[in-house]
């Protein structure tokens, strides 16, 4: 405390007081004011002060300009790269549709080719590479109401995993989650409280679409492990879900490209 008291009691540099006392002892005036020799030192001191002030101000302004310029150039780079990625995606889609047309043309010429094309379409549908459509069910899963408290009241990745697995077990032939087609390479997992499917972040509510026999799919799902899981979490933590049957569902294809694994040579 004595430090702070001292700070308040003697805010003036004690040098001034000492100098005044020395001066008084020498018989002169207390202040050096009016003496002609004060000008040079005082002038120099104030000049240094002004210099310091303006240099600091100029420096801060320059820094701000540099920072905002850097920021601007980063923003421009991001926008440019985004536009470039969009362009590439459009090109990819165009080339893919070209390939489909060319494949169909080539294969239509021969009877064996037509057979090949049919089996390829089946395989592409089941691997998730090609868009498919058909009857099925939609499982709608959503977080609990905000009124019901608890940290477990949001949908977790394991809930979606159980729903997807339950639908496969119930006889689904194609599944997508919020428009993300589930393929052989799809992982359903969470990162930072966000559920990722095909490495794309999804937001609740989650719509799990499944194409399959619409007469039996819903009931078999509810009786199976997926339905059991959903009933348990909806009772335990208030997760909301409902299941409805749809006459026609459309699912986009997903690119399930194998980069490392190669088909084994038939012997």
């Amino acid at each position: 405390m004595s430090l702070i008291t001292d700070l308040f009691a003697h805010p003036l540099d004690e040098g001034y007081q000492d100098a005044a006392e020395r001066r008084r002892a020498a018989g002169g005036p207390e202040s050096s004011g009016g003496a002609p020799r004060m000008s040079a030192a005082l002038m120099g001191g104030m000049l240094a002060f002004g210099l310091l002030l303006s240099i600091a101000a100029v420096q801060v302004r320059n820094d701000r300009v540099v920072v905002s310029a850097e920021r601007q150039s980063l923003v421009e780079r991001i926008e440019r790269e985004n536009a470039h990625a969009d362009d590439l995606e459009r090109t990819l889609a165009a080339v893919q549709s070209d390939i489909v047309v060319i494949e169909a043309d080539q294969l239509d010429d021969l009877a064996a080719g037509r057979e090949l094309r049919d089996s390829m379409e089946v395989m592409q549908g089941s691997t998730g590479a090609a868009p498919v459509q058909g009857p099925g069910v939609v499982v709608h899963v959503d977080d609990a109401d905000a009124s019901s408290q608890g940290s477990t009241s949001t949908v977790l990745d394991i809930d979606i995993q159980q729903v997807v697995n339950g639908l496969w077990a119930a006889g689904a032939e194609a599944i997508s989650v919020n428009g993300q087609r589930v393929t052989a390479l799809t992982a359903v997992r969470s990162a930072n409280d966000v559920i990722l499917v095909n490495f794309r972040p999804l937001n609740p509510p989650y719509e799990v679409q499944a194409i399959g026999d619409s007469r039996t799919l819903a009931s078999r799902f509810l009786e199976g492990p997926g339905g059991d899981w959903l009933l348990a979490v909806s009772e335990g933590s208030g997760i909301q879900f409902d299941i409805r049957t749809e006459k026609s569902l459309n699912m986009a294809g997903a690119s399930a490209v194998l980069r490392v694994a190669q088909p084994e040579e038939e012997s």
């Binding site: 805010p11 001034y16 004060m38 005082l42 104030m46 002060f49 310091l52 303006s54 240099i55 101000a57």
Partner: protein, 110 residues
């Protein structure tokens, strides 16, 4: 009169010369400014009290700036630079406020 001319000359020189402060010294610039402000208000108060001394003013000005910058530099080396600059600002701020309060009393008698 002389102090005002010195101040204006200094500001003009700083703006016109467009000095580039070395990167290593930049963190100490604001602290130096606050320390210089403390010396200037101390000098002003000394004028009001009738004990002003130009030598004391210049010496306290230079010493304040250097010591404040040195304390923060030392703190940076020890990893407590931010805390020490806060300490310097608080101490100098208290002194500035107290001195300005005295100046105000001298000027307005209130």
């Amino acid at each position: 009169m002389i102090p005002a001319i010195g101040l204006l000359l200094g500001i003009g020189a700083g703006v016109l010369l467009d000095v580039e402060v070395p990167l290593g010294l930049q963190p100490y610039l604001p602290i130096a400014v606050v320390a210089a402000l403390d010396a200037v208000f101390g000098g002003l108060r000394a004028v009001m009290d009738g004990v002003f001394n130009d030598k004391v003013f210049v010496v306290s000005f230079v010493a304040n700036v250097l010591i404040a910058a040195f304390i923060v530099f030392l703190g940076d080396q020890l990893g407590v630079g931010a805390q020490l600059s806060t300490a310097v600002i608080v101490v100098l701020g208290i002194r500035i406020f107290t001195n300005v309060a005295t100046i105000r009393r001298h000027l307005f008698r209130a």
